[in-house]
Symmetry: C2
Subunit: 213 residues, 2 copies
């Protein structure tokens, strides 16, 4: 008998009669927001805005018409000279961007280049009101994971119809086989001696533009 | 009896026993390319290129990596200063476009503005090898119909996987409820006294970039 068979045999023995049966997973958590938290769609969007702001991100509402000028103004305000974007970002988002050079990301853009830019602009897959979380899945206008992790400033465009109430609602919309990045505010770590260090695992600054329907 | 009832009554009378039965539509045409026309996928793409060129359009093959620089070079070659694009055109297509101003189209862009630009860049929904036709359906990277009709130069990006062999194959891929624009070469009309007038109903010049897989 090999070691592998021996170990598996012990596991089977320990499982006994329970072997092959699925364990019951308690799912007593709330799947949707209660009426006291958000009664209407507008309340869900307002709750998201509030929670994102609580996480020390900047958040602003814009109409679809203003999106191009608002993105340009936000980058000018930070004196950004060079940014990176996913190659499939809608052109209109950057159409007003005079004086800022936007690099279209590709597989050959290296980490040093991403580290040297003044920021990144992306969309998202879904956003969660209750937790103020934005989820990227590498789909349209989001690019690969490095884009939202390496640059120090992340400007993220969230369409109001991408905002759901709760984490279970977000999970229902997402494909678990895609590379998911869950972003709850700017990056902060306290991993070393409990000291609060911003930007340890991602951008130090997160700016969210909610595009109203 | 109203005129309407009278007319409908006559129609019903004329139909007689055939009323309510569906007429048989002969569908004896070929639905796919024969082996003599195109045996492999590469042959389908090559046939498309050949037929588009026959229609007096410029056609070129590019790799996805070169697309941004090829679009820029094509516009520089035409001395284009100002172009218009659908707002959702992938940013990477225009990332190398220095010295050319790209206007993101919106519902308020008027015909005079579209007429004044040096060209338009769009994608397409599907392309047909046998007829050298490109079909736009107003979907992603295509914009509204005016965009591909008013400007005098149209640069159209066709991904190789969007090319099908025949019209029936194209129809099967398209949604008949969308606004479809079928483009077979640059616009030419002979409607007035049989004289050949270029640009009567659309762009005088069509440039096609086929992005190979």
């Amino acid at each position: 008998m090999s070691s592998r068979e021996e170990v598996l045999g012990r596991v089977r023995g320990a499982l006994g009669a329970a072997r092959g049966t699925a364990a019951a997973v308690p799912r007593l958590y709330r799947r949707r927001l209660g009426a006291e938290e958000a009664e209407t769609r507008a309340d869900v969007v307002a709750l998201f805005t509030e929670r994102v702001a609580d996480l020390r991100a900047t958040v602003r509402h814009v109409s679809a018409d203003e999106l191009g000028t608002t993105i340009a103004a936000a980058l000018w305000g930070r004196e950004a000279k060079r940014i990176v974007v996913p190659a499939d970002l809608p052109y209109g988002w950057l159409a007003e961007l005079e004086g800022v050079r936007a690099l279209a990301d590709s597989a050959v853009t290296d980490a040093a280049t991403l580290d040297a830019v003044d920021g990144v602009v992306t969309g998202c897959a879904v956003a969660i009101a209750q937790t103020g979380t934005i989820v990227l899945d590498g789909g349209r206008a989001q690019g690969r994971r490095a884009l939202s992790v390496v640059p120090d400033h992340h400007l993220c465009v969230v369409h109001a119809d991408q905002i759901v109430g709760t984490v279970p609602e977000a999970v229902a919309r997402l494909d678990p086989y895609r590379p998911l990045t869950w972003i709850s505010g700017p990056s902060v770590t306290t991993a070393v001696e409990q000291a609060r260090v911003p930007g340890g695992n991602g951008p130090r600054s997160l700016e969210v533009l909610v595009v109203d329907e």
